[in-house]
């Protein structure tokens, strides 16, 4: 029996059977083809016949077929590719050392080429801050953006509108988007006045969404605020966590400079949504429109992944690199949520620490990716293996790909400034200043002069007063977060 098998050849296609064909089917297909292609027959084809024989020999043996399926899957050539998922390593060959060492793994998750995004009906709640500080252009821009949003809804969508200040009220309970009139009139009645208490608004919004929440909807709460909330942060975060367990996402759009970006950021992270910084109210309209479009148009939903490390390997850090950067803060044994996949790829960077006691090729980690692809309500999953070859003598290999280095350069700047804020929270002003200054220098180096200057200015303020400024920190955080996106050009 010929034992060589080639995972890059699709043996199932050669025999013209599906990948879950049973032994009987395979045998029938083989016989029919053999009669047709045999060199002794009229229109025989020696090459095709050999290929067909090779395919049959592999597929008829359960052990070989299993090995073949496994190898194909590991290469991303599996039977059906629900999602395209490519892996790039900073190096494939690693020298055996007595100390732990780092290997970076770049993971590209893309919708398969032939899959066009599906539009999911929306089940939205718009939770609007109507505190006194919203008076003037802010509230009028919010109204305008909300009106435009209502206009863009399709009949199958649902929306609720909640306004909050010191207390919250439901202006319109979750209603079908056919009823645009009542949605519009609710928006036009918004009058600013009072303080900012996010928790009540959040609770009412979630309540409205829950009444109609279902897996075939994109269930999402959008919070619009310009202020800080006091004392109810922890409860709000807990609500977000519960909501995300129910498949409800939360996004937070902060207007102006006074809101607490660290709080809204963690709210959005727990709610598997997005936190955005809206510097001028005029930006709100486009941002909201794009955000809602991304919510409804998805190639895959509720994507999550976990990394199973082999012995001697450890996942030290995981970051989302694109479409925007975020620290995924991996916890051992817990899946990392990635959210929805739109038309843009999701790019993740993993930092593995390897201990290498002996040479040989080994699997150091397996990535499991799960989610609902297209309009499917049932989740699918796939996995990718990370193989490393350990060698005794220093390997000769080229530098990592420019793309990996570029992304990592930007990620390292993002990390420097994120660590600066953490240092500052714990009172280490010197470390925070030094991290911000380093971040500024790297920004200058890669040509982001404006953002570099803003970061330097903030470093200076931190060094003087031991406190960040609300606007400075937002500029630096949201600016560096977007360094891998096209919008970052404004900071050059």
């Amino acid at each position: 029996m010929n034992k060589t098998l080639d995972p890059t050849t699709d043996y199932y296609a050669v025999l013209g059977v599906s990948d879950n064909a049973d032994q009987v089917e395979i045998k029938h297909a083989y016989r029919a083809l053999a009669r047709k292609l045999h060199p002794d027959s009229g229109n025989g084809d020696v090459a095709a016949f050999r290929m067909m024989q090779e395919a049959y020999e592999v597929l008829r043996s359960p052990a070989l077929r299993k090995a073949y399926d496994r190898q194909r899957e590991a290469r991303g050539l599996g039977p059906q590719i629900p999602l395209q998922c490519d892996i790039t390593l900073s190096r494939q060959v690693v020298q055996v050392l007595s100390v732990p060492q780092v290997v970076y793994v770049l993971v590209d998750i893309k919708p398969p080429q032939d899959l066009s995004p599906v539009r999911l009906p929306l089940n939205l709640a718009l939770v609007i801050d109507r505190s006194t500080s919203m008076q003037g252009t802010r509230i009028s821009n919010v109204k305008l953006a909300a009106m435009n949003l209502v206009d863009s809804l399709l009949p199958e969508d649902r929306m609720a509108i909640i306004a909050f200040s010191d207390r919250a009220e439901t202006l319109v309970g979750s209603t079908g988007a056919q009823d645009k009139t009542s949605l519009r009139s609710a928006i036009s009645q918004l009058v600013p006045g009072g303080g900012t208490e996010i928790l009540q608004g959040l609770r009412m919004g979630l309540q409205e969404i829950r009444r109609h929440a279902n897996r075939n909807y994109s269930n999402h709460l959008v919070l619009l605020t310009d202020g800080r909330t006091y004392g109810d942060e922890e409860d709000a975060l807990a609500e977000a966590q519960l909501a995300s367990a129910d498949g409800i996402g939360i996004s937070a759009l902060g207007i102006g400079d006074d809101w607490n970006d660290l709080f809204l950021d963690s709210l959005a992270r727990r709610g598997n949504g997005l936190c955005e910084y809206i510097q001028s109210p005029a930006q709100l309209h486009t941002l909201l429109q794009n955000h809602i479009r991304d919510l409804s148009s998805t190639a895959a939903r509720n994507l999550s992944f976990d990394v199973n490390c082999a012995e001697g390997a450890e996942l030290r850090a995981a970051f989302r690199a694109m479409p925007y950067m975020s620290d995924l803060k991996p916890q051992p044994g817990q899946a990392i949520f990635l959210g929805n996949l739109g038309s843009e790829a999701i790019v993740v960077m993993l930092e593995l620490v390897l201990r290498s006691p002996r040479s040989g090729e080994r699997r150091v980690a397996r990535l499991n990716i799960a989610g609902q692809v297209g309009g499917a309500s049932e989740p699918m999953s796939l996995h990718r293996d990370v193989f490393i070859q350990f060698v005794e003598s220093p390997p000769t290999q080229g530098p990592p790909t420019a793309r990996l280095v570029n992304l990592l350069a930007r990620l390292s700047i993002f990390r420097l400034q994120e660590r600066a804020w953490e240092a500052l929270e714990s009172g280490d002003v010197r470390q925070a200043t030094s991290l911000l200054e380093s971040a500024a220098t790297r920004l200058f180096e890669i040509g982001y002069r404006q953002l570099g200057q803003a970061t330097l200015k903030e470093a200076d303020r931190v060094a003087r007063s031991g406190e960040p400024t609300m606007s400075g920190r937002k500029t630096v955080r949201f600016g560096t977060r977007g360094l891998t996106s096209r919008s970052s050009e404004q900071w050059r």
């Binding site: 900073s90 390292s412 380093s438 200058f444 570099g452």
Partner: protein
Amino acid sequence: MSEKHGEMKCPSCGSENLPGTLFCVQCGTYLPSGGPLRTEPFSEQSQMRARPWTRDSGNDDDRVVGIELEVLETHRRVLLSAESDILIGRLDAAHGIFPEMDLTADGGLEHGVSRRQARIYVREGGWFVEDLDSTNGTFLNDERLTPYLPYRFHDSDIITLGTLRVQIMIHRESKAVI
């Protein structure tokens, strides 16, 4: 940077990083090349040296008030006061280097400009340039300067930093009779 056994020391801040790390955890320096921060020396350099200034006749004409530098590559113009020394180089906040004339935005790194490249200053009514032992040298009208020696220059001279050419325009307050 030894990667043989044990950890890698960042050439920029001295932090220890695990082998295989690409960007220093503490300061973000690119470790495989010792950091793109580091000015790479060019292979060939003009060896012709300019003649340093040796305190000859100081025919003080007008009082110098300022100097305008135009980076010929980018046409960026910077007006600087003559009141204190002017450091030319590339900004590196982490190392406390804040040049008055920062060439980062003009592609300073690609043009081989050092972080501390040169300084210019006024003495006795004349303008002087001094190379600060930069990696790729400073040139006055295409002649290379010996590090740490003052060279006098005049209006419309060209100073080359690494390979970045800068045109000088001196602004004077004329003592001429009104």
